[in-house]
Amino acid sequence: MELLSILRIAWRALARNKLRSGLTMLGVIIGVGAVIAMVGVGQGASQAVQEQIAAMGSNVVFVASGTVNRGGLRLGWGQTKSLLYDDMRAMVRECPAVRSAAPGAATTAQIVFGNDNWFTNVQGTEPQYFEIRDWTFAEGVPFTQADVDAAANLAIIGNTVRQNLFGASDPVGQVIRIKDLPFRVVSVLNAKGESAHMGQDQDDVIFVPITTLQKKLTGDTWLRYIVVSAVSRQASYAAQQEITALLRDRHRIRPGQDDDFMVRNLADIAQLADQSSRVMTLLLASIASVSLIVGGIGIMNIMLVSVTERTREIGIRMAVGATEEDVQRQFLIEAVVLSLMGGAAGILFGVGASMLITRLLGWAVLISPLAIAVAALFSAAVGIFFGFYPARKAARLDPIEALHFE
């Protein structure tokens, strides 16, 4: 029997029960649509992360103070007090792959301006920090190295802090209070958005000269982190190695002992972020494919009903010369037509849902042709897999019994 005739018969059989066929297809539609939309969300997120990381500058190396192991209790990064200002100067002096470096120390504080107040993160650093991180200023002029040396009470505020304390008014020149000390706002940073791998708001921050922070706010002498700029992107791995060797030497860490600091270059972080978003994509896709399997079971169910309903038809076809293969092929193709139509509608639904997510939630959603192709193939496979058993059942019917079925 030729394919065209089989397809026509399949189409008629499905058209005969429009509501039933539609509801059966719905399972596949939702499954395929969900896979496409979820993979789109995952890949969109992954791309956004990569773009953000690229925007941070690819030759940046982060050095953070290390973790402490106190009687089995490990306290996370940024806890040791061994990372010092002198370490930073040594890096710039002794590591050929390092171009420049900026120190960082931090505390949290309640910031007060007039009647408003805001709890935020206060970072102490030097002006190179903004250069290394490629962070530009929206307004005003940042503090200088001279201000750092003088431990001046000057502040550069992030966009979130500006919105919360100043609203629409101009913050530059205003005086805010950090832990009861007055600081003059000299500059506002451009918004940077959420950080790539932590999801933190990077704009919810105030920068002050590191000397001011250490002497007047915390009283510490050690650094939380050092931001390093390597001479080139390729040099960032070399810089990482040189810094590790230098710090182990300076901190007198014997071979075999753990580092009391952490060095990461952005390529690593990018890879990490990529990995985690890939895992997320996979997770979303596998949850979505569960509904595709459920859709397949729906097809199988309805095909079994159809085989029973059409037992007599099968008997007639066999009596006039249809072979088992003819009958099996007919029901199999019917199931595949059902699932492929569901797949096609599901692709439209998935693309539509992706566009809706982009518009409503503002997420970057990447519609991948690969996901569409895979979804289409998968829906055909679902039809074949779940259509096989009912088709086999139909083909195995005894023509005599089938002819007398009421």
Partner: protein, 261 residues
């Protein structure tokens, strides 16, 4: 009825042996759980080309089982069944399907037409399994419908046709692949007496043109229109006789009152 002549002459040309069917000592058992049903207990019969045979018998006599074997819908438990000189008793299912398609035409009591499918498409059905191209399929189906006098009902659905018309569609379907034998299983069982005779008229005319017909019926009035009758009882042929003073259905119809429909 030129098409039917064609069909019959085609059948004649395909074989030189006058003997179309030869059944030798055929037995059929069914296993029903623990019990074994012996449906046919050694049936032997020969049917020649151009015969019109009525198979008679009460229900349970084995006539339906015999018909299923003749129709290649089932295989005998033992014995031989030669169709046009070929032993078909042990053929594969696929080969049996091909024989049903090419050499046999079925007419059933309940018409067994596909509902929501036009008369033309019902008749076309066997040709779908016969590797014919679309044009030839449609041409044959139209000819077969014309032959049973339904050329003006081609696009009607079975629900729009009377019982007699539905059975004519079924006959057209049985003839469309130009078979050697027409097998009819209680073809008048669902029809009133006048329509029954009309169907027998169609059969007689087909037989006149050379088509071999085997008809199962339990109505003696119907079996009289055949040329030969086989009586089954308890899985055996008890009587095999020629029908004496066989009436012509066309004549009988003239004598019957016409029921307005």
């Amino acid at each position: 009825m030129s098409t039917l002549t064609q069909a019959a002459s085609h059948a004649d040309a395909s074989s030189a042996t006058p003997e179309l069917i030869r059944v030798e000592d055929v037995h059929k058992y069914y296993e029903l759980g623990e019990t074994r049903v012996h449906a046919l207990r050694g049936v032997s019969v020969a049917i020649s080309r151009g015969e019109f045979v009525a198979i008679m018998g009460a229900s349970g006599s084995g006539k339906s089982t015999f018909m299923n074997l003749l129709g290649c819908l089932d295989r005998p438990s033992s014995g031989r069944y030669l169709l046009e000189g070929t032993d078909v008793s042990q053929l594969e299912k696929k080969a049996l399907a091909a024989i049903r398609n090419r050499k046999l035409g079925f007419v059933f009591q309940g018409f067994n037409l596909l509902s929501r499918t036009t008369a033309l498409e019902n008749v076309e059905l066997p040709t779908l399994y016969a590797q014919l191209n679309k044009e030839e399929r449609l041409q044959r189906a139209r000819e077969a419908l014309r032959a049973v006098g339904l050329e003006d009902r081609m696009d009607h659905f079975p629900s729009q046709l009377s019982g007699g018309q539905q059975q004519r569609v079924a006959i057209a379907r049985a003839l469309v692949n130009r078979p050697s034998i027409l097998l009819a299983d209680e073809p008048t069982g669902n029809l009133d007496s006048r329509t029954s005779v009309e169907i027998m008229d169609v059969f007689q005319k087909l037989n006149d043109q050379g088509l071999t017909i085997v008809l199962v019926t339990h109505e003696p009035d119907i079996s009289r229109f055949a040329k030969r009758s086989l009586h089954f009882r308890d899985g055996k042929i008890r009587r095999d006789e020629a029908v004496a003073d066989r009436p012509r259905a066309a004549e009988a119809l003239k004598a019957m009152p016409r029921v307005e429909d």
